[in-house]
């Protein structure tokens, strides 16, 4: 089932959680709503589910207006952030709940229910937990039971609110891949909310980046990562260094590094913001011919495959660089060294769209 969100706005008192958002989610895709907390992503998900009523705008399922349908009639599977398992029911009864509350005419027989629940337990690989209570399960198990419960009613859409938010890092990794595989097998439309960019980039077909109740960018993980639509997206999708660069003669300069001015630059721009990911820097003991600036090594953290180097530029700005372990050994870098900093590739983000100062020097 495809989902369409049309000009949806939702306010809580004076706080605008979602502001005039429009979004199309094609059938069968797994979409991540990615944004910092308070960006309105959870509210948007809840509006799609029917748990919140938008102040204005509409929600369409398969092109049909579903705005006035109650959550019950929308037949969406919703997995809550804290799972919301019924603690007075066993795992089996939790999963069977959606079938048992159906009107008598459409209610499966108890035999069918048994079958269906068993199959779902197999699907989430927790067959042996059927008679346990939620309080006896680990976080990851609860998560999978919550998912099985949501799938029991055969929803056309699966909505997940911070599905891995409450889990520790290792379980998270595992469940992420599992969810992706599960989605590939089931082929239902899925939307999940996350504030973890890694999660969104790894699991989703499409990433919707939100901030302040608005959608900033929609695209594949590759698109949003490599072609961010705004400094916010670039910032949000990974660690980043910000340089206040100068613009001269159609070029942008960070120290001695020269870069082309982007096409969307303001014609009169004299300064630009340049965003560089830590691993896009390379360090050298000698000048390399190409553009560089000089910096002093303040601190080195060599734990891990990427060595983190803290630098201070010749003009006094702090820079975080990350270089591969081999490169670090090769350079025999030490604290206090003077190094030449170059850019490995041009995948930097330049924002020169701001108007120049009102009184240019």
């Amino acid at each position: 089932m495809s989902i369409e969100v049309r000009h949806v706005t939702k306010k809580f008192g004076t706080f605008t959680a979602v502001q005039d958002v429009s979004l199309q989610i094609p059938t069968g895709e797994l979409v991540a709503l990615l944004g910092p907390s308070g960006s309105g992503k959870t509210t948007l998900l809840r509006i799609i589910a029917g748990l919140e009523v938008p102040d204005s705008g509409s929600i369409l399922f398969d092109g049909e207006d579903a705005t006035s349908r109650s959550v019950r009639e929308r037949k969406v599977g919703f997995v809550f952030q804290h799972y919301a398992l019924f603690r007075n029911m066993t795992v089996f009864e939790n999963i069977a709940f959606g079938l048992r509350v159906r009107p008598r005419k459409r209610r499966p027989t108890s035999h069918e229910i048994r079958d269906r629940v068993d199959r779902l337990l197999q699907l989430v690989q927790l067959e042996w937990l059927a008679d346990r209570y939620p309080s006896q399960l680990s976080g990851g198990q609860r998560q999978r039971i919550a998912l099985a419960r949501a799938l029991a009613v055969e929803p056309k859409v699966l909505l997940l609110d911070e599905p891995f938010g409450a889990l520790d890092a290792r379980v998270r990794q595992e469940l992420r891949r599992w969810l992706r595989r599960l989605h590939d097998n089931l082929h239902i439309t899925g939307v999940f909310v996350t504030h973890d960019q890694e999660e969104a980039l790894e699991v989703a077909d499409q990433v919707v980046v939100t901030n302040h109740g608005q959608i900033i960018q929609v695209g594949t993980p590759e698109e949003v990562y490599h072609r961010p639509a705004s400094p916010f997206v670039y910032n949000f999708l990974g660690k980043v260094n910000l340089f206040h660069a100068r613009v001269e003669g159609g070029k942008v300069y960070v120290g001695g590094i020269q870069m082309p001015l982007p096409e969307d630059a303001h014609p009169d721009a004299t300064t630009a913001k340049v965003y560089v990911r830590p691993h896009h820097f390379d360090l050298h003991h000698q000048p390399e011919g190409k553009g560089h600036f000089r910096a002093r090594v303040l601190h080195i953290n060599p734990a891990g495959p990427q060595v983190k180097v803290e630098l201070e530029t010749e003009w006094g700005e702090a820079v975080h660089a990350e270089i591969p372990d081999e490169r670090y050994r090769q350079l025999k870098l030490e604290k206090g060294d003077e190094v030449y900093v170059t850019l490995k590739d041009e995948k930097v983000f330049i924002d020169a769209s701001e108007k120049p100062d009102s009184n240019p020097t």
Binding site: F80, F86, R87, R149, A150
Partner: protein, 278 residues
Amino acid sequence: MAISLKRRNILPGFGLTMGFTLLYMSLIVLIPLSTIFLKSSEMTWAQFCHVVTAPRVLASYKLSFGASLVAALINILFGSLVAWVLVRYSFPCKQIIDGLVDLPFALPTAVGGIALTTVYASTGWIGRLLEPWGIKAAFSPLGIVIALTFIGLPFVVRTVQPVLQDFDREIEEASATLGANRLQTFIRVILPGVLPSILTGFTLAFARAVGEYGSVVFISGNMPLRTEIAPFLIMTKLDQFDYTGATAIAAVMLVVSFVLLLAINMLQWWSGRQKAAD
């Protein structure tokens, strides 16, 4: 002994406060209460049975426990409803009404007693309205139930209210997303969640009602075999200087109270465990 059993802790004052607590508690509560059983043990078993199975005593137990049960059941229903309304809905004067619920805690029972009697007597504001229907509220078992409902109400409201307040809205929403209608959600999801607190409230209200004296004696009329509650009978025996008789009746009530207290603690332990496990 208790000191050696306590876990390591750097805070001072355990010995002093513990010692004082135990001493004060023994002097004020434990020693006085034990006299009931001491005094009862002066009687032979046959004497004891003779006192507590006298028709007038049996009738008073039946009335005390029966009326308390009815009142506690009424309170379960309306107390839970009041708690629900106070937690879930907003309406004018809600804060004041919420505060009013504690009135029976704070109002001296004798005042509550004469007020209820005045209201529900056949000339009273409400009694007058019931009279044409042939309903006699004051000076009848119904009056006793009314007084005991008054006294027990806050116990149910105040135990159910916080549980409802903390009840996770997500769980209700989960039920709705799975296709349950509001009534199904209420019966299958919300009710089981608040049931321990309703039971605790019931037991508290019942325990309080069984021993209640002040608010009941005025409205009951105290007719032997008909509207005489057990605490009143103890009072009567005392006035006749029949200490052993009074003590025997009291001993039975105390045992019941202790069983109820135990039940309350078990319930709280049970619901506490459910909560902690989550």
